[in-house]
Amino acid sequence: MKDFREQNYYELLEVTVHASQQEIEDSYRQARRAFASDSVATYALFSPEELVLLRRRIEEAYRVLTDAERRRLYDRELSRLDSTQWPDGETPADTKQQEQRADEQRQQQEQEPDNEDQPRLPLVESKPPPPADEVAEVDPVVTEPAEPVESEPVESEPVESEPVESEPVESESAEPESAEPKSGEPKSGEPETVVLESTKPEPVGPESVAPPAGPALPRVEKTESGPATDAPSAGEAASTRQEEQLPPLPRIDDDTPIDGELLRRVRLARGLELERIAEITKISIYYLRNLEIEDFTNLPARVYVRGYLKQLCSILELDASRIVDAYLARLDAGGGREGEG
């Protein structure tokens, strides 16, 4: 039995590689229930961050394994990885990736102090290292940049959206149920760069999926409920529409107060509704709102607030190391609009 962070999609869903569609469905449903945010079974076992990560991985596993074409590609990669031994579990990675890794580890150190040199699983198969600006390097999901795999089994996808150029449009990075990351420029040739599971060795906190500080890669959003039309549904509008309709991203420099208002402004600039964030993170919208309006008396214990903030930073593409402690300091100082919310 492996740590769930190291499990492949089959292991995550606890099915065999020969599992039928039905078996996968059943297993997925059971896992969904067991790891729902209100499940008693996970109490005192998983941290909120771990649960978010696990749910995301299970969703991704389900999505890939129930799609015949994606599953086929995944199987191929699995068998290739089986025969590949990386020395000491070290994966080839370009320096940028390593820098980023180190950076993220620094951010995580408080909560995840022990991960500094975990043995790395041979998860990455990258013949040519991926271009530095490809998000593939931080996304713990299968990335199949080249081959056009578009058959999503369950849901209809809003738009085969026009190939968007790489600019920080919206952040769907932490979206658990969708986001097949697509590289901006449709490449040709075999998918030589397939990232299985987590590219990073320590996909722990939610910030592990935070897109690089540089330009984020736009993704095509696929939603479960989205109607099969060419137009994005109302809920998706904000995230798929052009950037100019959104308010500008607030500048954060050394004397910018890190407060609820800042969180709110960044969120608006990212075009995200509170409801959407609640959906992604499974954090109650009530708490999300209270974080923004700084209704500190109506927030859960500090440790949970820390977790929420980290998740929030991940989704808002904010530097958690900068935001989380500053916000908590504000909370500790007892400021905020007590009771006003």
Partner: protein
């Protein structure tokens, strides 16, 4: 050769208080938290086994909080485990009292001295040794709450260990802590090399500075220093299979908790539990205690009794496979 072995085993069995016969299956009932029905379930399972023709001894190992006799509807017996622990009685057999039910004996728990919850290691070994040799087919140990070494050692020394949970966060919190601690304790018993013992000891501290939170973390740390050892630990982890019973189930959702706990435990701790079943919450349970009767003796048709019978049969199946597969367990 073979016949010789067979007959000598037979002889040993017949020798009565024979010094080396350990034919009984020892089953510990624990779960970390108090008030979840450990004693009641132990008593009622005891009745089930006795009714199916087995010789059963219940041992109230809840040192300091013993009340198994109450669950059997009898007065506090004069002789108890403390007499043996305190060496007032040399043979544990002599503190087995009649429960009033055919085939069911009881060793009542220690009541009299505060220190009994912290019996010394040597006393513990002596007690365990003699418990194993009790003349019985099944020995059911009713463990105390918490994760003290004594509780864990009784659990680990048994052939089968049952963890009881109820559908409440507090119960799960305690049970997960219990399972984790039990496995760490098992590692600690089996390991003898210093650097590795230190890792295990670190893991036992709740907020250890190595940030070891799960057996995976230990295996990873140890495996990095000594891959073979890591593999051995991994094998121990996969053969550590406590049994699980969900008690006080009040709704269909509650009944689904068992499979969910199995999944969560497997995913997070890597511990594979074996679900025996769930038992409904029933007023007749506490009513039976109040009227000083044993539920299984009175009420044979209620959903609760049916469920307990089911669990008892499941345990019997596990006992049979123990006979076949050999009886590996921690020998202290």
């Amino acid at each position: 050769m073979n016949e010789g072995e067979g007959s000598s085993a037979e002889r040993r069995r017949q020798r009565g208080s024979g010094q080396r016969s350990e034919r009984a299956t020892m089953i510990a009932v624990g779960g970390g938290k108090g008030g979840i029905g450990k004693s009641l379930l132990t008593a009622n399972l005891g009745v089930c086994f006795a009714r199916s023709g087995k010789r059963v001894v219940l041992v109230d190992a809840d040192l300091g909080g013993a009340n198994l006799h109450t669950c059997l509807g009898i007065d506090l017996p004069a002789a108890s485990l403390s007499d043996f622990v305190q060496r007032r009685v040399a043979n544990l057999e002599d503190v087995v009292v009649d429960s009033g039910i055919d085939g069911l004996g009881l060793i009542s728990g220690a009541q009299d001295f505060l220190g009994s919850a912290n019996i010394k290691y040597t006393q513990k070994l002596r007690t365990l040794r003699q418990i194993r040799r009790l003349q019985a087919d099944v020995i059911l140990l009713d463990l105390g709450s918490g994760t003290s070494f004594n509780v864990l050692d009784f659990f680990l020394s048994s052939h089968l260990g049952i963890v009881i949970i109820v559908p409440e966060p507090t119960s799960l919190e305690n049970s997960y802590r219990f399972l984790r601690s039990a496995f760490y304790r098992l590692l600690h018993h089996r390991e003898s090399a210093r650097p590795f013992l230190e890792i295990i000891e670190q893991a036992m501290l709740p907020n250890n500075d190595k940030a070891i939170r799960t057996p995976h973390d230990i295996i990873r740390l140890v495996g990095r220093m000594d891959p073979e050892r890591g593999d051995r630990y991994r094998a121990w982890l996969s053969s550590f299979r406590p049994l699980l019973v969900v008690n006080q189930v009040r709704s269909p959702e509650d009944a689904e908790l068992g499979p969910a706990v199995l999944l969560a435990c497997r995913k997070y701790l890597g511990i594979e539990l074996d679900l025996l079943g769930h038992i409904d919450y029933g007023d007749n349970v506490w009513q039976a205690v109040r009227t000083r009767t044993v539920l299984m003796m009175q009420d044979v048709e209620s959903p609760v009794t049916q469920r307990i019978w089911h669990v008892a049969r499941q345990i019997e199946k596990r006992m049979e496979s123990l006979e076949v597969a050999g009886r590996e367990r921690l020998k202290l």
